[in-house]
């Protein structure tokens, strides 16, 4: 089979599989459905792995239906795969396979009249995400964006008996769809200016026009969709609401790859469409989005620390890390892209594993409340170990992939923005500290029992509907095997030097705009310039150890601090929490769960982005 046929196949296999599951699901027994969906997910992994191997250090280009451009003009739709895009699609497919394995016995009772609905939706979700990662066309990107969006809303509200998932799904759907329509307005403006819809083609034609208000408006509007999907502050409000209530397997996908696809969208669209002559200047993109990234990272980390609802805590930790990823791609260097790619790959494994273990707790105890679960995870020893290891990996402990990605990004940021080191170390430490704090309380019953009272707005996480009806039986083995494998995967990203090397080459290709354009019409010249270094350095290891140590210290202070009767630790803690309350309480009040508020924030963010961009071009 020719290599370019593998590109559309990566989307077609899960789509056709979903149709098959819906049609045949009524007649098949449960085991056959599970076997079928596993086979389909594995087939897509195989397809993308083959594509990764065959594409090598180049690009695969597929003009759908054979509508190739003639003399540089054409109306065909193109799919372009380079190793960053294919790698992200492969990560999606692997995570889908893990989720299918995890939920093998998870939803014991699917909707009785429609068995096979849940796995079918998962496969459509996969098709949307893979399509978004592999498309080379802006309008197609919008369609795939809406496809994965619509499926994600449905999956979030899958448990329709419980009001909270419905509310989360509704918020998620309204905010994301609004952002998608803003993107479409931007696409319309770009089409009006250039008469093209392909990434590369729009970029080529923009070079013949001047930079004006229309270009700025189109830039901001087009990026609104990916920014909301990536949950960049102040567009992030929907994410904790949706992640806190979605079924656990869905959370693994939302946090693991879907949010990161937003970051990918921002980077891909900027590099291919706007980075050329008469586009948006690199300095403008860099300064604006490094600032947005830092804001997102800090908001995510601070809010993560405040949570007692475990899923909401992990969701805010995703917001924090997405801020770091945005900083990475906003550095507009190959090193930044390579570091982000490594970080995303490691983070996907770690975050999905943490959600998976939380799912076990929900299964056993019908609660994801850190306070309510105090000491109740003791009998779940393996789960406790996995959760703790996940927390350490989240802090960037070498040699996990998260640590390597963080180290490469810190090195990339150091020359221009040295203050970002504080953000990277602080955000990693605080988000991981929250996870370790919860691990110590839930799985070891460490420290005194946490106090129940809190004056401000809060989502507790107690009284959740268990996703499985029979808590008396043993934990199904896949529910602990899958997170263990995912953590091993995150470890492999950091340990195997080949992965870092390949991603460094891929990052050099990703940032080569001229090569991307040339690849559409024939073989592209190899990119010039050295590929960035992505190995472990003494500096990276020490910063990783530092953030891990800080995470352990803040977690220990939170767990055992209240037990210290008096003295310096106690006083320091009291002062900290008093000042913290003054800053944090207003921030927590902003996360009101009110759709109208979230839409206002979206409008405010758009306006700020417009003004800031217009002022810099």
């Amino acid at each position: 089979m020719p290599t370019q046929d593998l590109l559309p196949l990566a989307v077609a296999v899960p789509l056709l599989g979903a149709v098959l599951l819906v049609v045949a699901g009524r007649r098949l027994p449960r085991v056959a459905i599970d076997g079928l969906v596993t086979a389909l997910a594995a087939a897509d992994v195989a397809d993308l792995a083959l594509l990764w191997a065959r594409t090598g250090d180049g690009r695969s280009v597929a003009w759908l239906g054979g509508w190739r451009p003639v003399h540089g003009e054409g109306v065909g739709i193109v799919m372009v795969g380079d190793r960053i895009g294919i790698g992200l699609a492969l990560l999606t497919a692997v995570l889908i396979l893990a989720v299918v394995g995890y939920s093998w016995r998870y939803f014991e009772q699917p909707p009785t009249e429609h068995p096979g609905t849940f796995p079918a939706l998962i496969l459509v979700f996969e098709a949307g995400m893979c399509g978004f990662a592999l498309t080379g066309d802006l309008f197609n990107a919008f369609v795939f964006f809406e496809l994965m969006g619509a499926v994600a809303y449905a999956l979030t509200g899958f448990r329709i008996e419980d009001p909270r998932p419905l509310q989360g799904a509704l918020t998620f759907g309204i905010v994301n769809s609004l952002a998608a329509y803003a993107s479409l307005l931007g696409i319309g403006l770009l089409y009006a200016r250039t008469g093209e819809l392909g990434f590369a083609q729009i970029g080529q034609h923009l070079a013949h026009h001047r930079v004006d208000a229309l270009l700025v408006a189109a830039f901001v509007l087009v990026l609104t969709g990916p920014l909301v999907k990536a949950a960049v502050a102040p567009f992030h409000f929907w994410l904790p609401d949706a992640h806190a209530v979605a079924p656990t397997p869905v959370c693994m996908l939302l946090s693991g790859v879907m949010v990161e696809l937003g970051i990918y969208g921002i980077a891909r669209i900027y590099w291919t469409v706007f980075s050329g002559p008469h586009g948006i200047p690199m300095a403008c993109f860099r300064d604006t989005f490094v600032a947005f990234g830092a804001l997102t990272a800090v908001v995510g980390a601070v809010m993560c620390w405040q949570q007692r609802h475990l899923k909401r805590m992990l969701a805010f930790s995703t917001v924090g890390h997405v801020g770091l990823f945005l900083i990475g791609v906003a550095l507009v260097t190959p090193e930044g892209v390579a570091g982000t790619a490594l970080y995303v790959a490691g983070h996907a494994g770690v975050k999905a594993a943490l959600f998976a273990v939380t799912g076990v707790l929900l299964d056993r105890h019908g609660s994801v409340d850190e306070y309510g679960l105090y000491g109740r995870g003791r009998e779940l020893r393996l789960g406790g170990v996995l959760f703790t290891v996940g927390g350490l990996a989240l802090a960037g402990l070498p040699p996990f992939g998260t640590g390597l990605g963080k180290a490469v990004l810190e090195h990339a940021a150091l020359s221009r923005f040295p203050w970002l080191l504080v953000v990277f170390v602080g955000v990693s430490a605080l988000t991981a500290g929250a996870v370790l704090r919860a691990a110590a309380r839930v799985f070891a019953g460490a420290g005194p029992r946490p106090r129940e009272r809190y004056a401000g707005p809060e989502t507790t996480g107690g009284g959740e509907e268990p996703e499985i009806r029979d808590p008396s039986r043993a934990v199904p083995p896949p529910m602990l095997a899958v997170p263990a494998v995912l953590l091993l995967g995150a470890l492999a990203v950091g340990v195997l030097p080949g992965i870092g090397r390949q991603l460094a080459l891929a990052a050099r290709l990703f940032t080569d705009r001229a090569g991307y354009v040339a690849a559409l019409y024939g073989p592209a010249p190899a990119p010039s310039g050295a590929s960035p270094a992505t190995g472990w350095t003494a500096e990276g290891v020490s910063l990783g150890l530092l953030s891990t140590l800080l995470a352990l210290v803040v977690a220990a202070l939170a767990v055992w601090g209240p037990a210290v009767p008096s003295g310096a630790v106690h006083r320091a803690r009291e002062t900290l929490s008093a000042t913290g309350r003054r800053v944090v309480l207003p921030l927590r009040r902003l996360h009101s769960g009110h759709i109208g508020d979230y839409v206002s924030w979206l409008a405010v963010g758009l306006a700020v982005l417009l003004v800031v961009t217009a002022a810099q071009v």
Partner: protein
């Protein structure tokens, strides 16, 4: 080509946004989302408009006839399909929420906050 349709598109988007912010009912919010989406139809069709152009079919007309841009019409059509799907899904969620929670007033939906 007049600038008027673009102003209309912008106005529709803003009025939809305003409605969503001020909404006291989830069904109304979803309706306002559909209004905001209509701005994309207006914008796309305005982009493809050619003065004196006819619809882009070439069955019995000479090939030199001025026609409006068929690409944006295809985009608008796709947009309609996407919008209908999303609106239907959101409305279904809202109805289910009303059944389970007894209200769809955003001010009373306080299960998720902080």
């Amino acid at each position: 080509m007049s600038v008027f349709p673009y102003l209309v598109a912008g106005w529709i988007l803003l009025i939809g946004l305003y409605g969503m912010v001020r909404s006291r009912d989830a069904i109304h919010t979803i309706g306002c989302l559909a209004v905001a989406q209509s701005s994309t139809y207006v914008l796309l069709l305005a982009v493809g408009y050619r003065r004196g152009g006819t619809s882009p079919y070439f069955s019995d007309t000479p090939k030199s006839t001025t026609v409006v841009d068929p690409v944006v019409q295809a985009l608008a059509l796709t947009d309609v399909v996407v919008g209908a799907t999303v609106t239907a899904l959101l409305l279904a969620l809202a109805i289910q929420l009303r059944k389970r929670h007894g209200t769809i007033d955003p001010d009373s939906l306080t299960g998720l906050k902080g």
